[in-house]
Symmetry: C2
Subunit: 394 residues, 2 copies
């Protein structure tokens, strides 16, 4: 079994781009990924591709993988679309790692895209809703903000988590996103702004919810056999983990944990031989502020019920002990559904190559990405580390 390495990653801006298409955004991300490879990488070297997209609106819904890979000149290359709702491209990274480790491919594109800004409000509600449970959630009128509001309510009641703590997630992520030129909402917000925004689904207000976004992201995963052709400072995919769960929140035993995330994290830590204390940074799935707090607990950054205190203490700020969502996260950077997981890997790549600019975590050698589909029907975690930094607990 060959190790897998991350040798490049890039993304388009996230935002609303009426003048772009899903294909042009994908091309931007693809070219940016190629350009990021230290020793260069010709697209002719790519021998397999995975494309994550939920596939929303009136564009190419079937065969949407080949539709973008042909556009960037990868015609002929085996291409598989993967879809696990908002975790589509996190799972495309997993598939790319499996393809490389299988020996069936040496250079694999893991990618994702989504275009959402050209849909009406009703269409958006429909196309986002399709990732919720159909019979008892979507068709009975439950939205994703409603589902996460239920999770937030129970967490607040059970653990004393406060609206201020939820708001501090937004303040932190906007502060980071303001340092990321690709961010959709790249501006700072005050605690007052985040506390006093209009209610979306009580207790969640506008600043506790991510935007809808257009965007694309690409990562390049290669085998041990060829990694030295592309970089002298390899970044290894040290940890891999994924899990699933019931699609409907109402089917789960508890509302204050995401078992799929716990399973994914356990497997990733085990394969990497490290634990949460060994991480220098993490990109977690903060589609709603409560989702980031649940992630702290599911990923073992703190004890169950302590996530509110963790963000309040500044531990997960840039400069804190474990910076989380240095990119701005889904909240400020944006959440073009199918692009999000691969986009998290873009941030990991920037941090580990020291190219994260103003939001650089000094001396970062190991980071985690965490991508969730739906309200937790699927989750995937990866741990990336600079070669030579492994074996902390091994």
């Amino acid at each position: 079994m060959s190790d897998a390495y991350l040798v490049g990653a890039g993304q388009s801006d996230y935002g609303a781009f009426p003048e772009e298409s899903y294909r042009s955004l994908f091309r931007t991300a693809f070219e940016s990924a190629l350009e990021s490879v230290p020793k260069g990488l010709e697209k002719s070297a790519i021998d397999e591709a995975f494309v994550g997209t939920l596939g929303v609106g009136g564009r190419q819904l079937g065969l949407s993988g080949p539709a973008v890979t042909e556009h960037v000149g990868l015609e002929g290359v085996p291409c598989t679309r993967v879809e696990n709702a908002c975790a589509a491209s996190g799972f495309s990274v997993r598939s790319a790692v499996q393809a490389v480790k299988s020996g069936m491919a040496d250079v694999v594109l893991a990618s994702g895209f989504e275009v959402m800004s050209d849909m009406s409000s009703d269409a958006t509600k429909y196309w986002l809703g399709v990732s919720g449970e159909t019979e008892w959630e979507r068709l009975s009128g439950t939205t994703f903000s409603g589902v996460y509001a239920q999770m937030a309510s129970v967490h607040m009641e059970r653990y004393g988590t406060t609206r201020e703590q939820l708001s501090r997630v937004a303040v932190k992520n906007h502060s980071n996103g303001a340092k990321n030129p690709h961010a959709q909402l790249g501006f700072e917000c005050s605690l007052e702004d985040a506390m006093e925004a209009p209610v979306v689904a009580d207790p969640l207000n506008l600043y506790h919810c991510c935007p809808t976004s257009d965007g694309a992201a690409c990562a390049l995963i290669v085998s041990e056999d060829v990694v030295s052709e592309y970089t002298d400072e390899p970044i290894r995919v040290a940890g891999v983990g994924a899990g699933s769960d019931s699609v409907g929140l109402f089917e789960r035993e508890e509302y204050t944990r995401v078992p799929a995330s716990e399973r994914a994290a356990d497997a990733a830590y085990q394969t990497a031989g490290v634990g949460p204390d060994d991480l220098d940074f993490a990109e977690v799935h903060d589609c709603f502020a409560i989702a980031e707090l649940l992630a702290y607990e599911d990923l073992g950054f703190c004890e169950r019920g302590e996530a509110g205190s963790l963000v309040e203490a500044g531990t997960t700020e840039l400069g804190g002990e474990l910076p989380v969502n240095t990119s701005g996260g889904l909240k400020s950077k944006g959440h073009p559904i199918g692009a999000t997981g691969a986009g998290q890997v873009v941030e990991a790549y920037k941090q580990l190559t020291g190219t994260a600019g103003e939001r650089q975590v000094e001396g970062a050698t190991r980071g985690l990405t965490h991508n969730v589909g739906g309200s937790g029907g699927a989750a995937v975690v990866h741990i990336f580390e600079k070669e030579g930094e492994s074996g902390v607990q091994a």
Copy 2:
């Protein structure tokens, strides 16, 4: 790199089942696959799952993988939905093989499903159309029968292929399907019937087109390390190949070949170390009669332009030199889009375990499956062989 083995496969009936759901059909296929494993296989042994579906109609569109795996009690198991239009579950088999060969999983479920019979005619046209090219095909009114009719027209003009030869594909596949208890259209048809059916898209008539279908299929792929726990007569996944192409037919240089199929076949033959002459049977993607003829040529069963003669000579009939679509194929067995590729593997498993009943190919030791997405935007080929039968040309 571990070899991958097929140790079980099963399917639901294909047809129109208003009393069933996508989940109940999936359960039937899943249980049938488990029961088919010679030495038994507990579902708790499954450590990864891939689910292929185009996702049509008003049911679970996002997270449709976890939606079915949770229903059969695989909650928690990493599950990825893959979609490459009509090749969705052929690619789920490819992903399962990669997962096993990667060393990240030992027992992997490769599967697919679709429910189409509860859609209106307009909805069916829409949901099938989404796998065609969007801007210049679907939105301009082109249907799949229209696309394949164009391919048939050019093949007839260029090579002298006749309506009778197209009809002989239907006669052969119905003859086989009449021997398959799972077939949707499990009745024989005469050459006259097949010649004189109403036109769908000239030159293709009703008997040159597959039906719309409900159904599900599952296959179990395991690693070399564990195969002996499940069978004493291993079937190896000897050949793997996949390719992509432009999604729109109009973008291709020629209408009389499917380059994605050629690429997939080349790779599969190369990895297996065998050629078309070494096959005992093949399941090919006959969504339309012309598609089966193109497959003969793309997969190297005959020279370019000779496919009409090949079917006319009886070479691909049961009892012929290379029986094709012993299951009845998409034409007679049915074509529940996401289930089709995995369903082809079910037939390969039956043939290689000597359990194909009246349609058994005597002494079958090696067979090929070929699954196409759209009009050839993606294609995937696998070669399965009974252990100890390899190395014919190696």
